[in-house]
């Protein structure tokens, strides 16, 4: 008895080992691009699920263009920092990991800040302190630590792109909604980002004498954010329920067959 059980256990262990090895081998051959994309954009969205980088998210989303500007800046920093950290991960020892990551991130943020100052001066002024504050956006150090320091460079860069995109989409959603509700405009200040020709992009959707203050001020961002998170959770729950229903149906059929 004991012999058989131990051999069984050993067999089990071998099975588990095989299971563990096989997907690993696959992961190196075939990168699960769509999986990474899904993680960044939906399942593990930095703004909606991880709730990282809320400070800039809430402060800068008063207009669509501000949101776009900060979104692009954050995305750029995320991609480049993820790529760099993944490239240097083998040289960095465990003890100095965090300072090195922060140094890399801070350097790239400073570079992005200088470039924005030089090429999109108006936007630089309107985003103000929130560009240098990208350094403290936990989404970036979080990805560096959780993903980039453990995965090959290409995967890490793609993860940065998708996480950045997920963050930007939420920024845009919130920025657009707050601008429309608060000021009745969309793309206000587009010339700050794209140059003078973009002034024609700005349009007034509706006009009111008094701005809707709640949407313009930070509390509006909190409320809007709440709605977006609620919406995401609703969709997730719906999907989960559908899956459950499907599973239940399958089980019923199985029972039917057994009974027959």
């Amino acid at each position: 008895m004991t012999n058989t059980t131990t051999s069984g256990e050993i067999n089990d262990n071998e099975d588990i080992d095989n299971d563990l090895i096989e997907p690993k081998a696959n992961a190196f051959k075939l990168v699960d691009w769509s999986g990474i994309a899904k993680e960044g954009l939906w399942k593990n969205n930095p703004a909606l699920v991880q709730l990282l980088g809320l400070c800039p998210l809430l402060a800068v989303t008063n207009t669509f263009i501000n949101a776009l500007g900060l979104g692009i800046a954050t995305m750029l920093v995320l991609i480049v920092s993820n790529l760099t950290i993944s490239l240097v991960k083998d040289w960095v020892t465990k003890e100095i990991r965090i300072p090195v990551f922060i140094m890399i991130i801070a350097s790239f943020v400073t570079i992005v800040e200088l470039l924005m100052n030089a090429y999109t001066y108006g936007l630089y002024l309107s985003l103000g302190i929130f560009i240098p504050l990208i350094v403290t956006n936990c989404a970036i150090i979080g990805r560096a630590e959780a993903y980039a320091s453990r995965n090959p460079p290409l995967n890490a860069a793609f993860d940065g792109l998708m996480m950045g995109l997920g963050f930007t989409v939420i920024l845009l959603l919130l920025g657009g909604a707050r601008e429309i509700i608060g000021q009745g405009t969309l793309f206000d200040g587009a010339h700050l980002l794209f140059g003078e020709w973009a002034r024609t992009l700005e349009f007034q959707i509706f006009h009111f004498d008094q701005q809707f203050l709640l949407a313009v001020l930070p509390p509006g961002a909190f409320i809007g954010m709440g709605f977006i998170i609620a919406g995401k959770n609703y969709l997730d729950n719906k999907e989960l329920e559908e899956q459950k229903n499907k599973a239940a149906k399958k089980v019923e059929r199985a029972r039917v067959t057994t009974v027959n």
Partner: protein, 251 residues
């Protein structure tokens, strides 16, 4: 043995960290060197745009950025820092002074304003450069939200307590905003003081030496002394005085 290993790893880590710091600093420095002239240019352009907004474009023909003063004067600027006053001229004749002023008496933090007045003391234009007033209420001092600042155009301050230079609630000429009196009151009061001071010192400020001469330009002494002396000879004179000074110091 263990201790040696510890020292070794610490040394290695310190070296690694320094190496990363060096590379990062190098990258940032390179970007800085590359973007610095562009940033400077953007800032100048931005300033010039603002100057063009507060001045009447047809009435001056110089570049005010190249004709200015650095002054520390609380009654003009509202603080104890050194600020710049730009001078606009038409055919070398004084047209307007452009200066910044600021007040902390607004609803939320500092309000920075830019003002231009001509030699008769008439306001050419007022713009809000920076403020953190409540959106929808106090932020109407910003031209993008409301044309309230245009109501200062062509106004003069006749005395320190000029009755028109108050908000209506205080018996003056300027509108306050619904739900926000503190902001326009702070702005009007600050403007009254500083405009009064600058207009009564207009001539004195205009004869002061230009402190923003660009290298290529001739010495703008013609502004200071409209006597018909050749600028070149003046330049030589300056040189002469400089050399004599040197000699004295050598002695």
């Amino acid at each position: 043995m263990n201790k040696n290993l510890l020292i070794f790893t610490s040394k290695k880590n310190a070296l690694l960290l320094s190496a990363f710091a060096a590379v990062c600093t190098l990258l940032v420095s390179l970007t800085y060197v590359y973007t610095a002239p562009l940033i400077e240019q953007q800032a100048q352009q931005d300033l010039l745009n603002k100057l063009n907004q507060v001045l009447v474009p047809e009435r001056f023909d110089n570049n005010p950025l190249e004709n200015c003063l650095h002054i520390t004067d609380k009654s003009i600027f509202g603080d104890d820092e050194s600020h710049v006053i730009y001078r606009a001229t038409q055919q070398e004749q004084p047209y307007a002074l452009v200066f910044q002023t600021q007040t902390l008496k607004g609803y939320n933090g500092l309000i920075k304003l830019m003002v231009a007045i001509d030699k008769t003391g008439k306001v050419q234009g007022v713009r809000t450069l920076q403020h953190k007033e409540t959106p929808g209420l106090g932020d109407k001092i910003d031209l993008e939200k409301s044309d309230w600042v245009l109501s200062f155009n062509d106004m003069k301050v006749n005395s320190d307590t000029d009755k028109r230079w108050f908000v209506k609630k205080d018996g003056g000429y300027f509108d306050q905003f619904t739900g926000a009196t503190i902001t326009p009151r702070a702005v009007v009061n600050q403007l009254r003081q500083s405009i009064r001071y600058v207009s009564s010192n207009f001539d004195r400020l205009f004869v002061m030496e230009n402190q923003c001469v660009v290298d290529e330009m001739l010495p703008p002494d013609s502004l200071v002394q409209p006597i018909t002396t050749d600028p070149q000879s003046q330049f030589d004179e300056q040189k002469a005085t400089l050399t004599t000074k040197d000699e004295v110091s050598n002695d």
